[in-house]
């Protein structure tokens, strides 16, 4: 008996219909899945078309060289693309890039900020990639090569280039063999940067550094007996004594003994992205520890410390940064002893630091609040004291939770460095651009400088936010 209606051999699967595969299906599902979606897609395409139609001729007719003024640019565009065509005048950036980057820093000394900028990455590398030794060395190498290219581009090939290249090569070698040693570079970086950027005798920063060593030594003696808080305070007092009483004598004595100095550069020569980075990096690096302390203060059991922290944080968060900056430029002269007059950049850095410390404090407080009580109780049960518990158990978790918030505070701070133009510093956005636009040769230029400055800000801020996502992923310990 045979069952003829049963098929014996399987049919080969047929290819899906053309509308269900490949690009057509993707377009149908993602762009035209319904009337509403179709309208949206058409609107988006129309917007894109308008944007491109408006900006493409302008970009394509852009003039990169052979022009030293707006009139030259217009002439070149008219010659190339006809009398009515519009064209970007990037030649302005070719002529003025150094003001956007360095402000009025003397051209023969440009190697110093460039080297400092490269060292910044060397100092950051061991912090950014704490568990990836290869990445540290790679980063140092790449930064070194880029730095040499920048130096040759900015300065020509000179002894400074060789010196800077040698420094970077040595640091890269260290990074490749003993990456942990680079942490010393990280600790020394503030002093090196201070000296390289402002110049002057080398002994100033060195003796200031000794103040921190005094702090460390005193802390080492006192902390085991009286606890970390007393240790830190007594050490701080000792260091302050060193800075206030001995600093100038010791550094002058050494300068007389072994004179070694770089040409001094005044603060009013700083400008452009150099200024933005000086303020940004200094404030970012100081405001995080300060913010953590404020957050701890706000959660403290001690009523007085809590009240002071809350008052400070709420006051600073309640007023605009501009008023803080005006305080730095107008009011600080009232609050300090008569005849004290210190650097405007330093004043601005202090106020910006205070500002972003309050925001960081709130972010860190959010992280602390998100930790379950069990963590604190477990730390107590293990017999850890307050600072041990914070250092070993609470902070690593709380900071991990608050990474996105902290990084967005940093991004905000870096963007806010543009506001220093209102107290008379030459920031890249308003300070330098105003100078360029006020020049008779570049009268009437507006898109190009803003696109240039905005582009650099975008790269830096976008880079920071991408790094925070990488860090979040790296530190993620939960499942899934």
């Amino acid at each position: 008996m045979s069952l003829l209606y049963v098929r014996r051999d399987m049919l080969a699967p047929q290819a899906p219909p053309a509308s269900q595969t490949g690009a057509i299906r993707w377009i149908r599902e993602n762009l035209f899945s319904g009337p509403f979606n179709t309208i949206l897609t058409l609107l988006a395409i129309w917007t894109l078309y308008q944007l491109i139609a408006l900006s493409w001729p302008w970009l394509a007719n852009g003039v990169w060289s052979d022009a030293n003024s707006m009139a030259d640019c217009r002439a070149v565009v008219a010659a190339n693309a006809g009398p009515d065509a519009s064209g970007a005048c990037w030649a302005m950036i070719r002529e003025r890039w150094h003001q956007f980057i360095f402000g009025f820093y003397p051209p023969e000394l440009w190697w110093r900020p460039i080297l400092t900028f490269a060292l910044l990455f060397v100092a950051l590398a061991p912090v950014l990639y704490s568990d990836n030794k290869g990445a540290v060395a790679k980063m140092c190498g790449v930064v070194g090569v880029l730095m040499v290219l920048c130096l040759i581009g900015a300065d020509g090939f000179s002894a400074h280039t060789v010196f800077a290249a040698a420094v970077m090569a040595a640091l890269t070698a260290i990074a490749a063999t003993k990456p942990r040693l680079l942490l010393i570079v990280t600790l020394l970086f503030p002093f090196v940067a201070l000296w390289l950027l402002w110049g002057g005798a080398v002994w100033g920063p060195i003796v200031a550094l000794i103040g921190f060593m005094v702090l460390a030594v005193v802390y080492g003696f006192v902390a085991p007996k009286l606890g970390p808080v007393m240790g830190a305070s007594i050490g701080f007092i000792a260091a302050c004594l060193w800075w206030l009483l001995l600093q100038s004598y010791v550094s002058e004595a050494w300068q007389a003994l072994l004179p070694f100095e770089l040409i001094e550069v005044d603060s009013d020569k700083f400008g452009g992205f150099l200024l933005a980075f000086v303020i940004g990096v200094a404030s970012i690096s100081i405001s995080l520890p300060l913010g953590i302390l404020l957050a701890l203060g706000r959660r403290s059991d001690m009523l007085l410390i809590k009240t002071l922290s809350v008052g400070f944080i709420e006051f600073v968060r309640g007023v605009p940064l501009i008023t803080m900056l005006f305080t730095a430029s107008l009011l600080l002269q009232y609050f300090l002893p008569p005849q004290t007059n210190f650097d405007l950049i330093l004043r601005v850095v202090i106020l910006v630091t205070i500002f972003s410390a309050a925001y960081n404090a709130e972010v860190v407080r959010g992280g602390l609040a998100a930790l379950p009580r069990g963590q604190y109780e477990a730390a107590d049960a293990l017999g850890l004291d307050y600072w041990q518990a914070q250092r070993l158990i609470i902070m690593p978790q709380a900071l991990k939770i608050s990474i996105p918030g902290i990084v967005s505070t940093f991004i905000g701070l870096f963007k806010d460095t543009t506001l220093v133009s209102f107290v008379g510093l030459a920031d890249p956005l308003r300070g330098i651009t105003t100078i360029v636009r006020a020049d008779i040769a570049w009268k009437g230029i507006y898109w190009e400088p803003y696109i240039f400055v905005g582009g650099i800000f975008f790269i830096v801020c976008f880079g920071m936010s991408r790094y925070s996502m990488y860090l979040e992923n790296k530190l993620k310990t939960d499942h899934s």
Partner: protein, 420 residues
């Protein structure tokens, strides 16, 4: 046998102030208090010495002197003969107007962009991502200056609008000849009433009863609409059938206002080119326009991110469950996802409104005369009273911030999940 262990009654020794955790916190607080008071005293002393050296005193009397400068945009009547205090109020009003308008438009734009960023439409989602990243990562100041420069340098001068017989003018007005954007400002039609209600003078502040009447009528219509919706819900729960009410809502919301405006004789005064400039209508300065547009665009990107994070915080199960119940995608968003996401969105939204309000002080870049421009700008420079002006300005900003966060926290508490 006692159940409670008595603490050892050791004799108090001085060393316990440092070693004993029970007393140490007091020691630390006392030291901090002393340091704090010393710091305050030091600052106060310095201030007094510095003021004495400059032959100044702290005196807010200057607020009642004649200001002597003009403010183009003023919500309350103001001339340059008025006092500095009135200039302060005008500036405060300008700050609040920009903040309100900015918050309103950036919320609308931000919610739309945030929702569209999660859209399944690949192209739209990408475009929104690009928008958000570009605006978030570039300083707000750049947008303010750029918008201002574009308005004041690319727009034609008023004389280009001049119409000569037989020739076409160099520039045209927009929106059926009602709005003219020149390089000096934006001329928009002004609403006028033929038979308005009287204006009440309340000390220094004139209050237009017509405006109050419009506001009252709108509020009453909205309240009536809420009552209608509530009743509809009761009917639906009792019978299972939802009565159609959209036309009733529309009537309740629109008819009273339209009737009132018609009764008061609303008509528009259009800007017309006469002589050398535009006459009639309202001239909005580019500083206001630029500040508002830039704040809106920038904060829309920030709010969009907040909205996206809030929506993504709602688990997929919610939307899947609603889909299983047969709710349409648009209604899933409005009925299920958004109400829940709102709880996540509101706290960060509060702080964004706060920063927007504080960032209105960036109007300095385009010479917008807000609180900082009047009190902290011209008044400060004219009188030379930095200490008083700055203190007062910081105080006012602080109060605004505290009020916003108090109002928003109250709202937040009312929508919070009610748990046991």
């Amino acid at each position: 046998m006692t159940l409670v262990t008595e603490p050892p009654k050791a004799n108090f020794r001085l060393g316990m102030l440092i070693y004993d955790t029970r007393y140490r916190s007091y020691t630390i607080q006392v030291i901090v208090l002393i340091l704090f008071l010393m710091g305050v005293a030091w600052l106060a002393n310095n201030t007094i010495e510095n003021l004495a050296a400059k032959d100044k005193d702290i005196n807010f009397g200057f607020l009642w002197n004649r200001a002597g400068y003009d403010i183009d945009q003023h919500l309350i009547p103001y001339t340059n003969d008025d006092t500095h205090f009135r200039a302060l109020l005008v500036g405060l009003g300008n700050t609040l107007v920009v903040a309100l308008v900015g918050c309103f438009f950036s919320t609308i734009l931000g919610v739309i962009i945030g929702v569209l960023r999660l859209s399944k439409n690949w192209l739209v989602a990408r475009l929104m991502t690009i928008y958000i990243e570009i605006f978030r990562n570039i300083p707000l100041l750049l947008w303010i200056i750029l918008v201002y420069v574009v308005f004041s340098e690319t727009r034609p001068a008023p004389r280009d609008f001049k119409i000569v017989e037989g020739q076409t003018s160099a520039a045209h007005m927009n929106f059926f000849d009602t709005i003219a954007v020149t390089n000096r400002g934006t001329n928009v039609p002004a609403p006028l009433l033929t038979n308005p209600l009287p204006t009440v003078h309340l000390g220094f502040l004139p209050i237009s009863l017509s405006l109050i009447a419009v506001i009252v009528v709108i509020a009453a219509s909205i309240y009536a609409n809420i009552l209608l919706r509530r009743r509809t819900k009761v009917v639906q729960e009792a019978t299972g059938i939802r009565p159609t009410i959209w036309w009733k809502s529309l009537l309740i919301l629109c008819v009273p206002v339209v009737a009132l405006l018609f009764a008061m004789g609303l008509h528009w005064e259009y800007p017309v080119f006469k002589g050398f400039n535009f006459n009639g209508g309202i001239n909005i300065a580019h500083s206001f326009t630029a500040l508002t547009i830039a704040l809106t665009l920038y904060y829309a990107s920030v709010i969009a991110e907040t909205v996206r994070a809030g929506i993504q915080a709602i688990s997929r199960g919610q939307s899947e469950a609603s889909a299983a119940l047969g709710i349409r995608p648009g209604r899933i968003m409005s009925l299920v996802i958004l109400p829940q996401a709102l709880r996540v969105i509101i706290p960060p939204l509060i702080s964004q409104y706060l920063s927007l309000t504080k960032d209105t002080s960036l109007g300095i870049a385009v010479s917008y005369l807000d609180l900082r421009g009047t009190l902290g700008g011209i008044t400060l420079n004219q009188t030379g009273r930095e200490l008083e002006c700055m203190t007062l300005m910081m105080l006012i900003y602080l109060i605004i911030s505290l009020i916003i966060s108090a109002v928003m926290n109250a709202y937040n508490a009312s929508v919070k999940l009610k748990e046991r």
